[in-house]
Amino acid sequence: MKEKKRNYDQDVVGDGINTIQKVLEPVNGTSNNIVKYMLIGVCMLFLFLMLVLPLIVVIVNALKDGWTVYRKAVQNEYTIKALQLTLLATVSAVGINTIFGLFASFLLSKFYFKGRQLLATLIDIPFSISPVVAGLAFILTFGNIGWMGDFLKNHSIKIVFAVPGIILATIFVTFPFVFRELFPVMNAQGKDEEEAAALMGANGFTIFRRITFPHIKWALLYGIILCAARAMGEFGAVSVISGHLRGKTNTLPLHVEILYNEFNTTEAFAVSSVLVILAVLILIAKNFVEWKKR
């Protein structure tokens, strides 16, 4: 009886040591490794099928007719103009949405008040709206048939089918991105540190800068990257509101569609690859910042 119990105790201790070893040196556990490589394998396969292959399609088709055709497509006057407009819209959207995201997530995670859930959900609305409907919403507001249409026309302000409309639509579809990234992190952090600082007499900006911000800077970066990427690629909403004026209100994605519809498949993919390159640039910038941190 006693013998048995001792063995049992030893087993537990042995198991414990085993586990500690596993935790401390996860690389040594073979079964752990199998799980690890399986997970990595499955994920990479998924990424390959869903993301890398479409990318390869873009690149292969962009270079199908050789380097000269590619360069011609990319240096085309309309491509450059579309690129400028896309960058303008992206920068505006990132700027506005960052400001909004910081304030809104601070508000919702540090203060308890009635209707928080509702507010958080309202902010998410642009996610739930089909981009096409988002574009339509602006038309129904600022367009000729919209309820502000007459007012705008009398003051000769152009919003839809002009650059401001494109910027507005881009801001709309990317509105919650920064907030969405910041909110969970701020929420998980809780508000005790801020409360302590406030009780010690720090002012709002100092609290934010010294306590909140260090916790969220990576989430903020993710948010900005997501927002920028989404803003660059936005198609549906902008397509409704742009009027497709060549060289004036065409963003890069719209220019891609036009080229594709002109049967210039190669050029269309070449211009798409510009967007891919932009995305890669953002990625490099992000990696650079991460590397600086270490």
Binding site: L88, V91, S92, V94, G95, I96, T98, I99, I139, F142, G143, N144, I145, G146, G149, V160, F161, A162, V163, P164, I167, R209, R210, F213, P214, K217, L220, G243, H244, L245, R246, G247, K248, I258, Y260, N261, E262, F263, T265
Partner: protein, 345 residues
Amino acid sequence: MKQRKMCVHLYVSLIVLLSVIVSGCGKASDTASDKNENIELLNVSYDPTREFYAAYNELFCKYWKEKSGKDVTITQSHGGSGSQARSVIEGNEADVVTLALAHDITAIEESGMIDRGWLSEFDGNSSPYTSTIVFLVRKGNEKNIHDWNDLVKDGVEVITPNPKTSGGACWNFLAAWAYQQAQDGADEELTKAFMKNLYQNVLVLDTGARGATNTFVENGQGDVLIAWENEAYLSIKEYPDDYEIITPSISILAQPSVAIVDSNVEEHGTRETAEAYLEYLYSDEAQRLAGNHYYRPSKENILKEFSEQFDLNMNLVTIEDFGGWDEAYRIYFDDGAIFDQIYED
């Protein structure tokens, strides 16, 4: 600590910079439209006319410079015919519209932006060029497709756009309808059954004519594409060894229409130029240009010059045989009308 501070400063300055850029650009775009020496025209058109108008605009600019001494810049806008018409109603300030079917221009007329009677403002129902509906098949025509009744055979896969989202597809539908009416002695139920069979063979119902062409050509779907004649020729030109055109025994005279958007030209003070722009489409040079871009010139003498290119012996019905666009749209394409019925159950 220092690093953290730097990080904050970085973000703050970034945000300030962004807002400066935004406000700066906002101002820049406001002042751009005030110059008046150079006349600007906006031509809102539909998808397949890009190549034609790119060439025509050059021709017109030269002509107008010679005639009036003024420079004119023409901005093009292309898209699905219906959504282009909608954008004009919603505030896209087109001076002229050149769309796929009169129905879309009528919609602009109903919003009060185009004066009544635009259809007779220019020759040939304001259609400077016409086209028709043909079949594009893969080289060799393995499925042996020669006429509309071959499209309903088992195993034939058809690509055509959706008439509800594409003006061009309305012409396709009506052409098939006209063919079967001629076979059945105008029995509506029989024709409906035929159309049902036809659309059961449709593999992909794209939203626009260009989308359908891309599905057929780029993605290799289907055995036959019901297409505009000019689109079909364009595909042949791009891939001469891969496709051939089949002309059915009966088809429809597709009349893309042009009109001046009266309320916009008044506002912009561009009426004279806009009128000249559309008028000049009927000149011999422009008509030949249309022919070179595979549109049928509406002037008989120029059309004859292209008799080798086009099958001029086709039996073509017109939209008038269907009672005009308003009537046709109500009977065939409105919600719950014949097109919806053939897809039910």
